[in-house]
């Protein structure tokens, strides 16, 4: 029984700078990193020391509150540094890579016949557990939970996002193996939701899961939207979510017994050159993909997409969950109000508001920069978030409850169903420039601390 959903609310952000559907090999980076910050609210407990040798798949640190969950090295090499910040918080663990990878081998002879506990143990041991996240809270799943369903979004609708039909092409076997093992984790169903009329065989061909269709603008690809319309989360319930590309990594490991975290990173954005899909491994440097591929000086490099990604520099490392790098111009210049500023005619400026003429050319692709285009203000305009927020939830009221740490109202207004990424469009179009994603994150952290 598959479901077909149509959403009307939302906004496709059409930007200049899509990646061509060509695959190139990124240079092998000298260093790879695992950053605890990528795993929100996870406290790492190191299991290696600087100078120790690791293989690809060897644990580097564990979750302090759940010592079964391994965070493993993407390559074989030597632990070269543990970078610490304030209060000795671990920022990243650097691994100096060997020329070729040696792999830790995991026993996969009986993967097909594992029970729930066995499947969990396999995933945690092989470093695959961090790919599974949970809703509510949008953090790594807790192994002791029993999710009522597992949701996989078969596409990414974010601006300039990689095309899963392309990146997953030919990975049907891995997808199937991934879904097989994931389906052991839940008492309910595994949902795979796709957008296009004819998704790639790797997505279409898999069995053992419920195939759903969703049409409509971004955020239709956000798994939270899909959950809300297919099987909404109530207080006390837990749903797990996995990115489709990560399902393939899980499947590959289950098939081969080796942890090979291959990623196709889409290099996108207006000021990126040679915009292609780069084949590399999780944890690689930004440089290995972006080097020599940038035009101009004054740019922002984003690991991820422009809505939810993270600002990085050349020497930083690509985020664990990211399969995209976006490069756009920085907007750190003053704009005279009548020409480029707030009262200009504004042809060609991106805006969802009808106060700029650009809404009339829907298919036009825009160039954007990182200017805030105004200053933060109190909420004045109403019913603005609702237009891009396809939930039966009052978004502004929820953000306000989060700002005021009002747990009771957050619960009532539906905090359990949302993740910060669901508010990215609200934040984008906000007249008052309110940082809604951050507010929701803080609200979720409070809920985790007090209620879960």
């Amino acid at each position: 029984m598959s479901k077909s959903i149509k959403i009307r609310k939302g906004l496709d952000v059409n930007l200049i700078g899509e990646a061509d559907k060509v695959i190139a090999d990124a240079q092998r980076s000298q260093f790879y990193a695992i950053k605890p910050a990528d795993f929100h609210n996870t406290v790492p407990k190191m299991v290696v020391k600087v100078g120790e040798k690791v293989k690809a798949g060897s644990p580097v640190f564990k979750d302090k509150y759940n010592m079964d969950v391994n965070f493993v090295s993407p390559v074989s090499g030597t632990i070269s540094d543990i970078v610490r910040g304030e209060k000795r918080r671990i920022l990243s663990v650097l691994i100096e890579a060997d020329a070729t990878d040696e792999y830790e081998t995991f026993d996969v002879s009986n993967v097909g016949s594992l029970d729930t506990a066995g499947a969990k143990a396999f995933l945690m041991n092989a470093g695959l557990w961090p790919f599974i996240k949970m809703r509510p809270l949008d953090i790594i799943a807790k192994p002791e939970d029993t999710p009522k369903a597992i949701f996989i979004s078969g596409f990414d609708s974010n601006p300039l996002a990689p095309d899963y039909d392309f990146t997953l092409h030919g990975k049907g076997k891995e997808m199937q193996a991934g879904i097989d093992i994931l389906s052991k984790l839940t008492t309910g169903k595994v949902h795979l939701t796709t957008r296009s009329a004819n998704p790639d065989d790797a997505l279409k061909g898999v069995t053992g899961c419920q195939q759903n269709k969703i049409t409509g603008p971004h955020p239709s690809g956000n798994v939270g939207v899909q959950i809300h319309h297919i099987d909404p989360i109530n207080k006390g319930e837990v749903v797990w979510v996995v990115n489709a590309q990560d399902v393939a990594i899980i499947g590959a490991t289950a098939l081969t017994g080796k942890y090979v975290p291959k990623r196709l990173i889409a290099l996108t954005g207006e000021t990126a050159k040679n915009r292609k899909y780069y084949r590399t491994l999780i944890g690689t440097t930004v440089k290995s993909v972006v080097d020599n591929n940038i035009e101009g000086e004054n740019n922002r490099i984003i690991s991820g997409n422009v809505l939810t990604g993270e600002k990085v520099e050349m020497d930083d490392y690509i985020g664990f969950y990211h399969s995209q790098i976006t490069v756009i111009p920085e907007g750190n210049e003053y704009k005279f109000f009548l020409t480029k500023g707030w009262l200009g005619l504004g042809f060609g400026r991106f805006s969802a508001s009808h106060a700029y003429p650009s809404w009339m050319s829907k298919s036009k692709k825009f160039n954007v920069d990182t200017n805030l285009n105004g200053e933060e203000r109190s909420y004045v305009v109403t019913e603005q978030y609702e237009k891009v927020f396809p939930f039966d939830i009052y978004p502004v009221q929820l953000v306000k409850a989060a700002i005021t740490n009002d747990i009771d109202n957050m619960e009532k207004l539906g905090i359990y169903e949302v993740a910060p990424e669901d508010f990215a469009l609200c934040e984008l179009i906000c007249t008052s420039k309110v940082q809604s994603q951050e507010h929701i994150r803080t609200g979720l952290d409070l809920i985790q601390k007090e209620c879960m």
Binding site: K311, G341, R377, L413, A424
Partner: protein, 424 residues
């Protein structure tokens, strides 16, 4: 541009030199951000942001008020000359009417902005935050809903009251419960009723004219009262007649009262005149046409809510229609559509009830909110014996109701979610 930029950079540098001058930062910053969209970039969350900001939103509302303002200036001049018997046709002496209108209206605008922004700056410096743009709109709304002959000191006092009590005590722009401009008007309405109602305030300079005897009533017996004033008077005469009849007074007395009432009612302007705005009233409110031009613009750019406007109109129309069906006096017997063209109803529908800060915030709530505002406004106007115009009060009451309306709508949403939990 470079030149201007340097001026601001220098000013900032000078202010930053000492702790004493630092607190004046909001002054320079407000001007700076008015002239230049600042170079702030996104640091957290989404890396790109919509080009819209509060300044543009507010400025567009001001643009939408320009037809009302221009017509109001002309209209003030027209009735000034009309009272002197020198007006001629509508287009005669056009330039001198504009000039005379501007002579009376521009000072009200200047006082409203100067005083209001002054208060805003004081609060900004005291609280150390930037000046938010809310008053840009309020500062223009206040002159448009004042009688043209209102003393300037009253405008100043009302503006201070509105900004301090109506807005800043709640936390400034975005936090107020009731509409700031209407707070100013309501303050004067109750504190200085003789300057806000009656027949001595709607025409520029009419008091002096009456004192010096230069007022020319003309063939239409122009008294200086608004159409609504005349109609309310007519209604009062009918009420008197009814009382007289019940006390068994002579028929001639009763009929005399009714005749007086009818005579007053005939002074109310025609449907077309009140649609175009050729009648006395507050500066910007008279022309339904100008307000509708503003409405078209606001709806086109998506800043005002059509839900509120529509439901406000329907609310007003239903009460006007209901009382029309009841009949019984000239006020009730005005065609319902014409009833809505009188007074501040159309202006209130476009610029007042739609103020997003004081309106209901939920989509469903907006329909209830607008309806309540429109219905109460017309009900107070027509049924209440004390106030000839009720739109202001209707909107203020709707403002007060808005949070409750939202609360109900949101509670329904919460209940829906709770129900899902039980069935699951």
């Amino acid at each position: 541009m470079k030149f201007l930029r340097n001026i601001f950079d220098n000013a900032h540098a000078k202010l930053n030199k000492s702790e004493k001058t630092k607190k004046f930062f909001p002054l320079v910053d407000s001007l700076d951000t008015l002239v230049f969209t600042p170079n702030h970039t996104t640091q957290k969350g989404a890396h790109i942001r919509d080009a819209i900001d509060l300044k543009r939103t507010m400025m567009f509302v001001i643009l939408a008020m320009i037809p009302c303002l221009l017509f109001g200036i002309y209209n003030a001049g027209h009735w000034h000359y009309h009272a002197l018997g020198e007006a001629g046709g509508y287009m005669d002496n056009f330039m001198s009417k504009l000039g005379m209108g501007a002579w009376y209206v521009i000072p009200i605008i200047a006082v409203s902005y100067a005083v209001g922004l002054g208060v805003e700056f004081i609060f900004a410096i005291k609280n150390g935050h930037a000046v938010q743009e809310g008053f840009l709109v309020s500062g223009m709304l206040i002159p448009l809903i004042m009688p043209v002959d209102v003393p300037l000191w009253m405008v100043a006092v009302a503006t201070i009251f509105a900004v301090v009590i109506g807005k800043e005590v709640f936390g400034g722009t975005g936090m107020n419960i009731i509409n700031v401009a209407l707070t100013a008007r309501a303050f004067l309405f109750f504190a200085h009723p003789t300057s806000m109602t009656g027949d001595n305030t709607w025409v520029a300079g009419i008091k002096e004219m009456k004192e010096s005897g230069t007022l020319v009533p003309g063939p239409d017996g122009f008294s200086g009262a608004t159409s609504l004033g005349e109609l309310a008077g007519a209604k009062a005469k009918y009420a008197e007649a009814a009382i007289a009849a019940s006390k068994g007074k002579a028929e001639s007395v009763v009929n005399g009262l009714i005749e007086k009432g009818d005579a007053m009612a005939t002074k109310a302007t025609s449907m077309m005149d009140s649609f175009w705005g050729f009648e006395v009233g507050s500066v910007g409110e008279t022309s339904a046409f100008a307000a509708l031009l503003g409405a078209a613009f606001l709806l086109w750019v998506g800043i005002a809510s059509w839900k509120i406007m529509l439901s406000f109109f329907v609310g007003g129309l239903s009460i006007a229609g209901l009382l029309y069906a009841m009949g019984g006096n000239p006020f009730y017997e005005v065609d319902p559509i014409q009833q809505l063209m009188y007074g501040g109803f159309m202006f209130g529908m476009v610029f007042m009830i739609t103020d997003p800060v004081t309106a209901a915030q939920t989509g469903t709530g907006k329909f209830f909110y607008g309806f309540i505002g429109g219905a109460l406004g017309i009900l107070i106007r027509m049924a209440n014996p004390a106030y000839p115009e009720g739109v202001m009060l209707g909107i203020l009451i709707a403002n007060v109701c808005a949070p409750t309306i939202d609360h109900m709508v949101i509670r329904a949403n919460v209940k829906r979610r709770m129900k899902r939990l039980k069935t699951a």
